[in-house]
């Protein structure tokens, strides 16, 4: 029996699962198109311009420009995380879609890999819709900020993997609220999103860097939207890549354990 860290045998068939989700998503695109648009505008007005009119500048940057990458990073996190927790759980438990799929040449590894890739794709779609809005407000530096798109895929895959680990062990859909409120919500506030990490006590800064994946995503995103890249980028990128690989592998193995009996 494979253990939790063994490399899952994922085949190219995973794209069929991705494609199934894409078809369902595309059919309701009008509904799916507005949330990112509205969310970007809400953040820009309420926090960027609202609080921004008091704060003016952070580290020499206009406040609204400072939080623009946070808006993107939080969107990446939320769309992948919620897709691969509630979305995947509904498909797994209520719709029994995974059971139906693994009666075909698809394996459970293919199914979960397809779900993870789809979660990452949701993040990309979100960012692609938000970027023009931010561009119109002049808070991102183009064309450099376009790198946010591939970054959204990597970051999305990381949060999809983390989410799928929770989905694999949750006893029911209600208990998925715990990671949402105890992990995701605090993370969106304390990861250098709306105020710099350096404002926090040093110990907390280290904790944030060690344990909060969003910290690294926001840091890279900020370099991209400001158009100023420093070598630290590589460290953040390595951290995210490692966690992504680890979480995706663990997620697939945990799901296998849950579903194959």
């Amino acid at each position: 029996m494979p253990n939790i860290l063994s490399i899952p045998a994922v085949s190219w068939r995973a794209r069929k699962v991705w494609h199934r989700n894409m078809v369902v998503f595309a059919r309701t695109w009008q509904v799916n198109f507005f949330p990112p648009l509205v969310e970007a505008l809400l953040y820009l007005f309420a926090i960027g311009l609202g609080i921004g009119s008091y704060v003016k500048e952070i580290e020499g940057i206009p406040y609204v420009t400072f939080i623009a990458p946070a808006i993107l990073a939080i969107a990446v996190m939320n769309s992948a995380f919620f897709e691969c927790t509630y979305g995947s759980y509904v498909r797994m438990y209520y719709q029994k879609s995974f059971d139906a799929m693994i009666a075909t040449p698809l394996s459970i590894e293919d199914v979960i890999a397809g779900e993870l890739l789809w979660g990452a794709t949701r993040s990309v779609i979100y960012v692609v819709i938000m970027l023009p809005v931010l561009a119109v407000f002049g808070v991102i530096s183009l064309p450099f900020a376009l790198l946010a798109v591939p970054l959204a895929f990597l970051g999305g895959l990381m949060f999809a993997g983390i989410a799928m680990c929770f989905t694999a062990v949750t006893p029911g859909i209600d208990t998925l609220n715990y990671p949402s409120f105890l992990f995701i919500t605090p993370m969106s506030l304390f990861s250098g999103t709306f105020f710099p990490l350096t404002l926090m006590p040093v110990a907390l800064q280290y904790i944030a860097l060690a344990l909060l994946p969003l910290t690294h995503l926001v840091a890279i995103m900020r370099m991209f939207t400001l158009g100023t890249v420093s070598p630290v980028l590589l460290l953040h990128l390595v951290w995210i890549t490692l966690i992504t690989v680890l979480c995706c592998i663990v997620a697939i193995n945990l799901m296998r354990k849950r579903l194959i009996v």
Partner: protein, 256 residues
């Protein structure tokens, strides 16, 4: 069933499906199987047609062929009218038929059905049976589990009665009935007088709840003797069925 369908790992022993080992080549085997699960797991995000088309795509069937197959199968299970209706609007019987159609998208070499008519009304059951017999007539191999013994008697060429994971008997339904339950059954009410009467006549009997059953080759003779000698209030004669075999072999105690 799940082990044959390459969904659950085998617990022990050896297993060969279509001459292949499910541990070695699950995808190759699954590509040649059609599975009707006990649980309805159609995709509620799609229409009837969408379910068949999407499922066909999981089998790597090209889009054109998948579209054609989906329409063909909707016609086969008489759901063409419900082609563009979402799953939640289908009745229970329609859902089971659609699942049967879904199991056929890849022209399977073996069709595996787990309680295909569970919870269906008589009309819906008969329609499913009709479709299964049509498939049988085309030479398809069908493996099915069922608790409805009339269903087993109707559909199966060869059947296995299992209890607690062990095979009790195996054979053609008619042979099993003949061998284990006799030709015909005479039933009379269960009273002390009749029991003592039967004992005097040295007729073997079995108590089944409020009835006494006598298995026989000639129900007429037994019924006549009973009516003449024991004076029962009512006597029923009927052919023996698989249900009699099953109850005889597995006992009448509730299995829970």
């Amino acid at each position: 069933m799940k082990m044959i369908a390459c969904v659950s790992p085998k617990t022990s022993g050896t297993l060969s499906v279509l001459g292949l080992d499910p541990d070695e080549a699950p995808a190759t085997i699954k590509a040649r199987l059609g599975v009707v699960p006990q649980e309805t797991n159609l995709d509620p995000d799609f229409t009837s047609y969408g379910n068949l088309f999407t499922y066909a795509r999981y089998f790597d069937i090209p889009e054109n062929a998948a579209a054609k197959k989906a329409d063909e199968l909707l016609e086969f299970v008489q759901l063409t009218e419900k082609r563009d209706v979402t799953i939640e609007k289908l009745s229970g019987g329609m859902k089971r038929r659609l699942i049967l159609a879904r199991a056929l998208v890849n022209n399977p070499d073996i069709l595996i059905l787990d309680e295909p008519t569970i919870g269906l009304d008589p009309q819906a059951r008969h329609l499913i049976w009709e479709k299964l017999r049509a498939l049988q007539a085309q030479g398809n191999t069908i493996v099915l589990t069922t608790h409805y013994l009339d269903e087993a008697a109707r559909l199966c060429d060869r059947l296995v009665i299992m209890d607690n994971g062990r095979i009790l008997v195996e054979g053609a339904p008619a042979d099993l009935v003949k061998e284990h339950a006799g030709h015909e059954i005479v039933e009379v009410e269960n009273t002390a007088e009749i029991i003592s009467c039967l004992r005097d006549l040295r007729i073997a009997y079995e108590v089944a709840g409020d009835m006494i059953q006598v298995a026989t080759e000639s129900s007429r003779d037994i019924a006549r003797i009973l009516l003449d000698r024991c004076h029962p209030e009512k006597v029923v004669t009927r052919p023996a069925t698989l249900e009699d075999v099953f109850l005889k072999l597995t006992g009448r105690k509730l299995r829970e």
